[in-house]
């Protein structure tokens, strides 16, 4: 009986470890080879060097793409957080309309991304050729598109928190003479802050990850996704992508660790 239990534990560890290795092996190799200047993985490693990191910061196109990614990600996540949180509050107080708005907010979530991307593109054509607005595909249009795509995820993140709030607190604040807006800002908003931050993080990573919408609506504006894709399709390799991947992966890892430490601290405080 005891042997059987140990065997089951070993098998279950094996399943986890095999899949984790499959997931992390490519990333680990990329990190390892980001300190070698060799063109392809598996070639002569040579000496340990930061050459690819220097190359990364000298690659103007890749740096511009990285800046674009950050600008689009931060601005659209910020806008989506504001719009999504305000909307979540509105939806929270709705009765009949609630289902309609909830469903409408899910359209871009369930739709095939290529259809959403083409919809944006046709809207651009429509605004340019029929409404005669003079603007072009690019950073501004991408920020709008990313905001529209990521807002539903902020709503999904803030709504559950709203349902947990004690409605008496808000009423108490208004009974004590605060205006509704002041009550919202000083009573409700602080309680929503945590879910707004996770909504922001979700919106930012989704924007960072986006390829299809960005590729079709970017015009000559490239992000990391679209620039790296096009470059690799054209010329096969781009060694400095390894140093970029390493930096992004370490950044994500550190962010995750910090988030978990803060979470654990808060849990302990509650206890």
């Amino acid at each position: 009986m005891k042997d059987k239990k140990i065997l089951s534990l070993v098998i279950r560890w094996l399943i986890l470890i095999v899949v984790l290795i499959a997931i992390y092996l490519p990333i680990a190799l990329i990190i390892l080879y980001s300190f070698s200047e060799v063109r392809d993985l598996g070639g002569e490693y040579g000496s340990f060097s930061f050459g690819l990191y220097a190359k990364l910061f000298q690659n103007k196109e890749l740096m511009t793409a990285t800046m674009n990614t950050l600008i689009i990600g931060l601005v659209s996540a910020f806008l989506a957080t504001i719009l999504g949180s305000v909307t979540a509050i509105g939806i929270h107080y709705m009765t009949k309309m609630r289902k309609v708005v909830d469903t409408a907010s899910q359209i871009t979530v369930v739709n095939a991304e290529i259809v959403t991307a083409m919809g944006f593109y046709l809207l651009f054509i429509f605004l340019r050729d029929v409404v005669h607005l003079s603007f072009d595909l690019g950073l501004g249009w991408l920020i709008i598109a990313h905001t529209v795509i990521t807002t539903p995820y902020v709503i999904l993140s803030v709504s559950p928190r709203l349902k947990q709030l004690n409605p008496n607190l808000l009423e108490a604040s208004m009974d004590l003479g605060a205006t509704p807006i002041r009550s919202l800002v000083t009573v409700m908003l602080p309680q929503l802050f945590g879910s707004m931050i996770s909504g922001f993080a979700l919106a930012f990573t989704l924007s960072l990850d986006d390829f299809v919408v960005t590729s079709i609506n970017g015009g000559k504006t490239y992000t990391i996704s679209t620039f790296v894709y096009n470059h690799i399709r054209r010329s096969g390799v781009l060694p400095e992508v390894r140093s970029l991947s390493t930096i992004i992966f370490l950044f994500v890892l550190i962010a995750m660790i910090v988030v978990n430490i803060v979470k654990n601290k808060n849990l302990k405080k509650e206890k």
């Binding site: 986890l16 290529i114 919202l184 390829f211 299809v212 079709i216 990391i224």
Partner: protein, 267 residues
């Protein structure tokens, strides 16, 4: 007594409703309009005739369905055991372990696929149908894993205990109790993987051979010049219908599972 005015800021949702109408509803109407509009501006189904008569588009559509089915099934086969193990004792006490499977999704997926591509190069694997499939599974695995894991780890343990008390062995308990209860998680995993693969032409474009691509690529190419807007919109419209069918099926199956569960409780 002063009548308290109930505070109902429903107007807070109005800006978003406006945004949704302009940037979500209108674009879908435009796709529909272009799909059913001929060159002279009249109503026509010519665009649909065109995409279904051209072998390139018709085959690409069927091939995409096949690729998406295959990759979804493989994702399920890999992630179900992982989710099951993660939700079982003593792994359910190690929250960090589950997190490890999700962390890579927070990194850019093109960079992850490029990493996989360089490993394939090293191993001497030429771009082929299967390298494309592996890439899709690699990319979408966490999205299948997470919903199944969530359902399994929130599962009421007393069902499993009851089944064992009544004399079922581990396998029978899994097959008759745990698995049916996890179906909503599987369905939500499938819906997070199956349809998105139709648009994942970046993955096949980087990893697979030229013949292995998903329909998203075909649509993108059609839209690269104005003469293709009609056919591209028709293809998009077909995908839109497919999204509806998948959504309908998944809510039907989930609803049926829930009904069986609550029905059992009432008796």
């Amino acid at each position: 007594m002063k009548k308290a005015k109930v505070f109902r800021p429903t107007a807070f949702a109005f800006p978003y409703i406006a945004v949704t109408v302009v940037f979500v509803i209108v674009p879908l109407l435009l796709v529909t309009l272009y799909a059913f509009r001929g060159n002279d501006g009249s109503f026509t189904i010519e665009n649909f005739n065109y995409i279904f008569s051209q072998a390139a588009y018709r085959n690409s559509l069927f091939k995409t369905v096949g690729i998406a089915l295959l990759a979804t099934v493989l994702c399920l086969l890999v992630s179900y055991p992982v989710a099951y193990v993660l939700a079982s004792h003593p792994f359910n006490k190690m929250a960090v372990l589950a997190l490890l499977f999700v962390i890579p999704t927070w990194m850019n997926f093109v960079l992850r696929i490029v990493a996989l591509k360089s490993v394939f190069n090293w191993m001497g694997l030429k771009p082929s149908f299967w390298t494309g499939i592996i890439g899709l599974v690699y990319d979408f695995l966490p999205y299948m894993l997470l919903p199944i894991y969530t359902v399994l780890s929130n599962l009421d343990k007393s069902y499993v205990e009851a089944s064992k008390d009544l004399g079922s062995n581990d396998f029978l308990t899994f097959w008759k109790v745990t698995f049916p209860l996890s179906i909503p998680g599987i369905i939500s995993g499938i819906s997070m993987v199956f349809m998105p693969i139709f648009s994942a032409y970046a993955v096949t474009g980087l990893l697979a051979d030229a013949g292995t691509t998903v329909i998203g690529r075909g649509i993108e190419q059609l839209f690269s010049q104005p003469s293709g807007y009609g056919a591209g919109s028709a293809l998009s419209f077909v995908l839109l219908l497919l999204v509806f069918i998948v959504m309908f099926l998944s809510s039907f199956i989930t609803g049926k599972t829930n009904k069986t569960l609550t029905g059992g409780k009432k008796r």
